[in-house]
């Protein structure tokens, strides 16, 4: 996909023109300081203050499409950053014991805070070589199967599960279909709903449709502030409903894919704040905020009896979307009553009419 949304220097997004301009001015002044030995520090501080104001202004009112750009920013922290900065003694566990070891999904044991956890996440890769190896974060079925195998292992020893979601989507390829992409994802949704350990899912970048959901079923679903989570990519949606992929900005808006909108709709449980100007501007603060959320939430979930936890998880999944529309909930209730009536009206319920096959 041609990326015409970042500016030429690659570090700034198109809507950060002013921020980029201030950066250029500061660099100019710094150069002058070192070459001519003139002290411009007060001017630089002044520009920095301007930049902070500017970033605050931009990032407090990002459009949905701009949020997608931030979520896809080439310098946004990836799974490997979280593994390096947040997880102690990480031991990666490879392979799905069936076909291979998908590098788009990484799984392993480690320690976050004082908690031992199984960490599962999608990795997009940093270098070109890594990007190709991890298929740009688009998992194949063996990735989902590896995730499930390791999660069942964790369940056996009562180890809580943390998943970090960052994928444009499950890979649409011939091999993926041959090996049952749909079945692999379906199996994960099915089993994750019943795993007898706490599960925390966090969208750290792109939450691309079924590919994200495939490791995204649990007790809590959180999102980083400028991550996005969507049923279809804005480009794909625009291509189908607008019949024009370039209408992606409009599609992004309509899909309500930002953390703010999804939180309002009751579809995510928490929004984890990002540092000023997005996660890519401050790696450490971002990872710290995520770690803080995980530690707090694990502590909270640990207090709940496992059967209650599973009941709550089911209730949460079962009511997906219903809380978004109170009116519908009322209708559903009326609907349930109608089921009861209809069932009572079934002729000869219980007595089977034997017949030849």
């Amino acid at each position: 996909m041609p990326d015409n949304n970042s500016s030429k220097d690659g570090n700034h997004l198109a809507f950060e023109e002013k921020v980029a301009d201030l950066d250029r001015q500061m660099n100019e002044l710094r150069k002058l300081t070192s070459v001519k030995g003139i002290d411009y520090s007060s001017e630089i501080r002044q520009l920095q203050r301007q930049q902070v104001t500017e970033l605050k202004r931009i990032y407090s009112s990002l459009t949905a499409w701009q949020t997608v750009q931030v979520a896809r920013h080439p310098e946004r922290p990836l799974l490997s950053d979280y593994l390096n900065l947040m997880v102690k003694d990480f031991r990666e566990l490879h392979g799905d014991r069936c076909f291979g070891d998908d590098r788009a999904i990484i799984a392993g044991l480690g320690q976050i805070g004082r908690e031992r956890v199984l960490l599962v996440g999608q990795d997009k890769g940093k270098t070109t070589k890594q990007k190709i190896a991890s298929n740009f974060g688009c998992p194949n079925p063996e990735g989902y199967r590896k995730a499930l195998a390791k999660m069942k292992f964790a369940e056996k020893f009562g180890i809580p599960i943390v998943t970090l979601i960052d994928t444009p989507g499950a890979y649409p390829g011939i091999g993926a279909e041959e090996r049952g992409q749909a079945q692999a994802i379906a199996a994960n949704l099915y089993h994750m709903s019943r795993l007898r350990v706490p599960i925390i899912c966090i969208v750290i970048g792109e939450g691309g449709s079924g590919g994200a959901l495939g490791i995204g079923v649990g007790d809590r679903l959180a999102m980083l502030e400028f991550a996005y989570y969507s049923v279809i990519s804005p480009e794909g949606c625009a291509g189908i409903l607008w019949r024009d992929g370039s209408q992606a900005p409009e599609a992004a808006e309509a899909l309500k894919l930002t953390s703010k909108d999804l939180y309002k709709l009751g579809l995510v449980d928490a929004v984890i704040p990002e540092p000023l100007g997005g996660a890519h501007r401050n790696l450490h603060d971002t990872v710290h905020n995520v770690e803080d959320y995980i530690v707090r939430t694990l502590r909270e979930l640990r207090r709940v009896k496992i059967d209650t936890l599973l009941d709550n998880r089911y209730a949460k999944l079962r009511s997906t979307g219903v809380s978004a529309t109170e009116k519908l909930r009322r209708r559903t209730k009326a609907g349930r009553e109608r089921i009861k009536e209809a069932l009572e009206a079934i002729p000869g319920k219980g007595k089977r009419v034997p017949a030849k096959v």
Binding site: P172, G173, I174, E177, E178, G180, Q181, A182, Q183, I185, A186, A187, L189, Y190, S193, R194, S209, G210, L213, G214, G216, V217, Y229, S230, V231, I232, G236, C237, I240, L241, W242, R243, Q247, E250, A254, K256, L262, L265, R313, L317, R318, T320, G321, V322, A324, T325, L328, R331, G335, R336, R338, I339, A342, L343, I346, K349, R352, P354, A355, V357
Partner: protein
């Protein structure tokens, strides 16, 4: 236009010509034979020449599957509220719902109810491909779960006919969430020892395949049905290679181990009844 204009001359129709394909004859998209429409309909909408299975709406599907007049619908009036307030290209999801309801004579993309199949009581959920491409939104998810819960309470087998273009994008993450919701309901049903038979009709793709359609205790497919995760067009555009012959068909899925059997439409009733009998506890 009243009775006066009705001509006795039968050799010419006053109807616009574009309705002609809706007339007596139709062409089979696979073998290209010209077929007499009523002959096809009598043959359960299967091409008599090449057994091509035409797409059928939910009502016709139910008529073919269950004992006469035994289907009792639940929650037939359940409607979506348009949770996102979705607008696109100068129109809206709400408008699209109205248009499709008119066009398809259906109220949503799934019908649920109780029925008898050759005398065996079952709970059914049948998808309607003519309503927003049979896509799964909040109503489909709710109805599916209600059917699962009912089957669990009544200790009846659950028979589902999947026929869908996937998740309904007009409902965004609400519809994505229905994948997890339906799968979770099935996991509970499984723990309770329920029998779940899933029939995959043409087409079964996207979020429906990646949730309840692939979770049957027994998965039956109709011959030639398109079954897959990503749509063939998406795949072709991504990998820029021509797709192999027969890719993502029911036969392809059987060969790769993802469906239990392929059953001709005329045998579906008896095969489902037989499976129900085998699984009786």
């Amino acid at each position: 236009m009243g009775k006066e204009t009705k001509s006795k001359w039968k050799g010419f129709s006053l109807r616009p010509r574009k309705e002609m394909p809706e007339g007596l004859w139709m062409r089979c998209p696979r073998c290209e034979h010209m077929l007499y429409r009523s002959a096809v309909e009598k043959n359960l909408n299967v091409c008599p020449e090449c057994t091509y299975h035409f797409r059928i709406d939910a009502k016709t599907r139910i008529k073919y599957l269950v004992d006469e007049d035994s289907f009792q619908q639940f929650m037939g009036d359940l409607r979506t509220d348009d949770p996102l307030g979705f607008k696109f290209r100068g129109t809206s999801y709400k408008q699209r719902l109205k248009d499709d309801a008119k066009k398809s004579d259906a109220k949503e993309a799934m019908l649920i109810g109780s029925a008898f199949i050759k005398g065996r009581g079952v709970i059914m959920a049948v998808m309607e491909p003519n309503f927003l491409m049979g896509s799964m939104g909040l109503v489909v998810g709710e109805k599916f779960c209600a059917a699962v819960e009912r089957a669990m309470e009544e200790k009846l087998p659950l028979v589902v006919v999947a026929c869908s273009g996937g998740a309904r994008m007009h409902e965004g993450v609400v519809s994505l969430g229905q994948m997890a919701k339906t799968s979770a309901a099935l996991a509970k049903f499984d723990e309770a020892g329920g029998l779940y038979i899933c029939v995959l009709a043409d087409p079964t793709t996207g979020g429906v395949t990646a949730s309840f359609a692939m979770l049957g205790d027994c998965i039956v497919a109709e011959p030639g049905a398109l079954i897959g995760f990503a749509g063939p067009r998406t795949i072709a555009e991504t990998i820029k290679v021509e797709l192999p012959e027969g890719f993502q068909t029911a036969e392809f899925m059987l060969e790769h181990g993802f469906v239990d059997m392929i059953v001709h439409r005329k045998d579906l009733r008896s095969e489902i009844a037989r499976l129900v009998d085998y699984c009786r506890k």
